[in-house]
C-alpha cells in the first residue's frame, strides 16, 4: 500500500460534493453549455481537475468504473479512485456505471459500454471524456431538450466524429449513453437526448 504518496480528495468533502453535483446537474440540464468546477480537490495525473471532482462526487461502492489505458497507465489514478471513492474497477466496460476516458482517439466502439435496458434505461455507462479544449476549436451545433433552439459548442476533441457516433442514441432511446466532456476545470454535458444539428 503506497498511500503515503496518495493525493488528497476534496478539501471539504460535503461542500465539494455539493458544489460539484450542482455544476454537473446544471451541465446536464443545459447541454452544450460550459460549467466550471472550481472546488479544491486533489488531482492525480492523468486526471484533470473536473474529472477528479466528478469522481469524488459521483463514484461510490455501488458504481463499477472502467478506465481506458491512458487513465489506467501507471495505476496512480486507479489507487486514488479506489481510496477516495471505494468504487470497484471493472475490466468489462459493459458493466461500468462510469468510464473515464483519457485518450478519446482510442475510444472503444460505443456499443461496448452499458446502454441500459428498456426497463432500466438508467443502467447505462456515463462516459467522462477528457478533451484538449472546451470553448475553442471546432464548432458543433446542438439541439434537443434543455437547449433553446440551438447551442453552439466549440471544442477541440478526440475522436473527431464523437457526435456522429453519439447519433446512435436517437435510435436507442430511452436507452443510450450520456457523455460529460472535461477540459481542466470545465465540463460540458452531452446527455443522450442531445443531437447534432443538421448542416453543421
Amino acid at each position: 500500500m503506497t498511500t503515503t504518496e496518495l493525493a488528497a480528495g476534496f478539501a471539504d468533502k460535503v461542500l465539494g460534493a455539493q458544489s460539484t453535483f450542482r455544476a454537473v446537474m446544471e451541465a446536464m440540464a443545459r447541454p452544450g453549455r460550459i460549467q466550471r468546477i472550481t472546488f479544491e480537490a486533489g488531482t492525480p495525473a492523468p486526471l484533470m481537475h473536473a474529472s477528479a471532482a466528478l469522481a469524488l462526487t459521483l463514484f461510490d461502492h455501488d458504481t463499477p468504473i472502467w478506465l481506458d489505458a491512458a487513465i489506467a497507465a501507471d495505476g496512480t489514478a486507479a489507487r486514488w479512485l479506489k481510496f477516495h471513492t471505494g468504487a470497484p474497477l471493472t475490466d468489462d466496460p459493459s458493466t461500468a456505471a462510469f468510464a473515464l476516458i483519457g485518450d478519446g482517439s482510442a475510444l472503444l466502439p460505443l456499443e461496448r459500454f452499458a446502454l441500459g435496458t428498456p426497463e432500466y434505461p438508467d443502467r447505462s455507462t456515463t462516459l467522462i471524456i477528457q478533451v484538449q479544449a472546451l470553448g475553442s476549436g471546432a464548432s458543433y451545433r446542438l439541439h434537443g431538450p434543455g437547449i433553446d433552439g440551438e447551442a453552439l459548442l466549440q471544442a477541440s476533441l478526440q475522436p473527431a466524429d464523437l457526435f456522429d457516433r453519439l447519433s446512435f442514441n436517437a435510435a436507442l432511446f430511452p436507452r443510450g449513453l450520456d457523455v460529460v466532456l472535461v477540459s481542466g476545470d470545465q465540463v460540458v454535458a452531452i446527455p443522450r437526448t442531445t443531437r447534432l444539428s443538421q448542416g453543421s
Binding site: 500500500m1 498511500t3 503515503t4 496518495l6 480528495g9 468533502k13 481510496f83 477516495h84
Partner: protein
C-alpha cells in the same frame, strides 16, 4: 478473540496479525478510555489521510450458518486514515457513528507501525485496554454460565 486462522510464517503476516488484534481490542473499547491512554504517550503530530467519516457496511450471514452468504442488514461504521510525519499510515474502522473513535484507532494503528512508538502503544494503550475488555467479557461469560442447565435424573422408585 475470534481471529482468522492464518499461517503467520512471514514477518509481514505477523505484523498484520498484531495490527488486527490491536484493532479488535480498540473497537471493543470506549472512546474516552482510548483517548485517555493515548494522551499519556504524547503522540506525535499526524495528518488526516481520510477525514473521519460515517457510513454503512452491509452485514452478511451464511444460509444455515455455514452455507453461502446473504445480506442480513446494514450497520453504521466510522472510519479514518492518518499519516504520521514519519510516514506510517494507520487505518481506523469501528461499528457505530463515533468518528473520534475511528480517528483514535487509526492513530494507534499508525503508531503500532512506528519503530519509536510501537512498544509504548502496545504496553500503555493496547495491553491495559485488552485487560478491561477481557474482564468485561469474563463477567458476561460467568453470568451466562450460571444459567447453564445441569440435567439430573431423579432416582426412580423400585416396584
Amino acid at each position: 478473540m475470534a481471529m482468522h486462522a492464518e499461517t503467520q510464517n512471514s514477518p509481514e503476516q505477523a505484523a498484520t496479525a498484531r495490527r488486527r488484534a490491536a484493532m479488535a481490542v480498540l473497537a471493543a473499547s470506549e472512546t474516552a478510555a482510548i483517548g485517555a491512554r493515548l494522551d499519556t504517550l504524547a503522540p506525535p503530530a499526524f495528518t488526516l489521510l481520510r477525514e473521519p467519516e460515517q457510513g454503512l457496511v452491509m452485514l452478511r450471514g451464511r444460509i444455515g450458518g455455514d452455507g453461502s452468504a446473504f445480506n442480513v442488514g446494514e450497520a453504521t461504521v466510522s472510519r479514518a486514515a492518518v499519516r504520521l510525519a514519519s510516514g506510517e499510515v494507520g487505518f481506523g474502522y469501528t461499528l457505530g457513528r463515533d468518528r473520534t473513535k475511528a480517528k483514535l484507532i487509526a492513530l494507534c494503528d499508525a503508531l503500532l507501525q512506528s519503530a519509536d512508538y510501537s512498544a509504548a502503544v502496545e504496553t500503555e494503550v493496547i495491553a491495559p485496554l485488552q485487560t478491561e475488555v477481557e474482564a468485561a467479557r469474563a463477567e458476561k461469560a460467568a453470568r451466562t454460565a450460571a444459567t447453564k442447565v445441569d440435567f439430573y435424573t431423579l432416582v426412580r422408585g423400585e416396584g
